[in-house]
């Protein structure tokens, strides 16, 4: 049954999200092509460059927002409005309904996130290749290969020192951070909608209220998780002159703390949602 739910869920959701996310690929290609031209070689072209950059960033943000908001809206519309009369009378359990939405919602959110990351990386790479000067390219590639580089003030920088992890690990950690971030966003959106359904009236408004509350709660938890274990180390690092070490400690702690707190929050929200979904819907 779950497989059938998934099949129909993919079918409906793909119709909307595939075109939207395909646009990301489109503007990435356009962006890379534009960067390969020499329109940025002159001083006068910088305003245009800025404008295009802003446009690009806003586009990515829009596509990401559309993806997330559409996933939330679909959950609400398909289960708690007129269509709910069909979904809740299917020979499936409420948990199966929830899982189908969760799997498809998270998959799309994650895909969109990775696509955005890839797009940014692709454009960043194109920019470096076309805009940077010869000797700087050599410096930059060595930096990303974790070789120490020396600047004109005879200061040594290495990726590991600055960011706390070698580049490959750093990349993996960023991916984990983003993916767990997607997961927790999706589940907390669903949970807000489910909580809103507990109210007798103004269910939608209540859902939005719950969303805001949970969001702030999440931010608080994640911040505490990042700062608390390392408050001593951070204070010490700030006393030293080199801000590099501060960044090192910050990044070293940021990742595990965020990732773990997001996983724990996801689990907590998931169990809360399962309880609510079983409790039964009072459809209007």
């Amino acid at each position: 049954m779950l497989r059938k739910l998934l099949k129909h869920e993919w079918k409906s959701v793909n119709k909307v999200l595939l075109p939207v996310n395909l646009c990301i690929i489109l503007i990435t290609i356009v962006g890379c092509t534009v960067l390969n031209t020499d329109i940025f070689d002159t001083e006068e072209s910088w305003p245009i460059a800025l404008f295009l950059l802003i446009f690009y960033v806003l586009s990515l943000m829009t596509f990401a927002s559309i993806t997330l908001i559409y996933i939330y809206v679909r959950f609400y519309k398909n289960l708690f409005t007129a269509e709910g009369y069909l979904m809740h009378t299917l020979p499936v359990t409420p948990i199966q309904l929830f899982h189908s939405k969760l799997i498809v919602g998270f998959s799309w959110s994650a895909f969109n996130c990775l696509l955005t990351l890839f797009s940014t990386a692709a454009l960043g790479f194109s920019a470096i290749v076309t805009v940077a000067k010869e000797e700087n390219i050599d410096h930059i590639s060595r930096f990303f290969l974790d070789d120490p580089i020396v600047n004109n003030r005879n200061q040594t920088f290495s990726f590991s020192e600055m960011f706390g992890y070698p580049p490959a690990t750093f990349l993996i950690l960023i991916l984990l951070l983003l993916l767990t971030g997607c997961l927790v966003s999706i589940i907390m959106g669903y949970l807000s909608i489910l909580l809103g359904q507990l109210m007798e009236k103004h269910k939608l408004a209540a859902s939005i209220g719950f969303f805001i509350v949970i969001y702030f709660f999440m931010q608080m938890v994640t911040s505490i998780a990042i700062l608390l274990p390392n408050s001593n180390a951070l204070v010490n690092a700030m006393d030293n002159d080199t801000s590099v070490y501060f960044m090192n400690i910050f990044y070293r702690n940021l990742f595990p703390a965020s990732i773990i707190s997001q996983i724990i929050l996801s689990a907590a929200f998931y169990f809360a949602s399962c309880l609510l979904v079983r409790r039964k819907v009072n459809l209007d």
Binding site: G84, T89, P91, V281
Partner: protein
């Protein structure tokens, strides 16, 4: 086995009691009218049976089973509004039903669509409201279920369509199944009923055979209803 058994079924919304201590048995092989004024608890009862609501207290069992995924496969429910995604095409809705419900007779369903000259490739939102409702009725009646629940199937529908709907209901009749019809339009439908249930203020007022009532009261069910529920 009794098809539907309700024991002391109660549903409250805060201080308001929609259904109060309802005891009801429905057997298979009947076409039953569920009658009562607005707010009497009819819709609440139907939602409790279909699993869209949970009781505050009391029990319901469908063929001996509690309400759940299993009972939902035995019940074919037609609500009084569109519940399909209007962006779907008619044939997508057919595929959907065929996928989730075994015993969905798609051949029969397509026959009925052809009878009404409905093109399966059209999107639901391009069809008139009346036609959308007929599509839903066809989907619901093409399932081989143990219980069909129809909520206001002929309200807001022209007389010819009404005849088509009543005919569809009759031609789908199966002595192993029952059809529970909730409606206000009693005079149009009373000839096809063999039992009626009157619900008033969340209580069961009457559950009787239609011809018995007519014999006793020498009146039509429509007239009896007006007398019982006089404002």
């Amino acid at each position: 086995m009794t098809l539907i058994e309700c024991n002391a079924l109660t549903k409250k919304y805060g201080n308001f009691t929609a259904l109060s201590n309802l005891d009801l048995q429905i057997e298979s092989g009947h076409i039953i009218g569920l009658l009562g004024p607005n707010g009497s608890g009819k819709t609440t009862l139907l939602k409790l049976i279909t699993g869209l609501l949970q009781p505050s207290s009391g029990t319901i069992s469908i063929n001996g089973e509690p309400v759940g995924a299993a009972s939902k496969s035995l019940i074919s429910y037609l609500p009084d509004h569109t519940y399909l995604d209007r962006n779907m095409r008619v044939r997508d809705a057919m595929d959907f039903f065929e996928d989730f419900y075994q015993n969905f007779d798609s051949m029969r369903a397509y026959e009925m669509l052809a009878q009404l000259a409905i093109n399966p490739n059209h999107k639901l939102k391009t069809l008139s409201k009346g036609t959308q409702e007929k599509v839903q009725l066809i989907l619901v009646m093409s399932r081989r279920a143990n219980l069909y629940i129809l909520d206001e199937p002929i309200a807001g529908v022209d007389p010819a369509a009404r005849d088509f709907i009543l005919n569809t209901i009759l031609s789908n009749y199966d002595e192993n199944a029952s059809i529970l019809i909730s409606t206000h339009l009693i005079s149009d439908i009373e000839n096809i009923l063999d039992e009626v249930i009157f619900i008033q203020n969340g209580n069961l007022h009457t559950h009787a055979s239609v011809d018995d009532l007519r014999q006793k009261e020498h009146k039509s069910i429509d007239t009896i209803f007006r007398e019982v529920f006089k404002c």
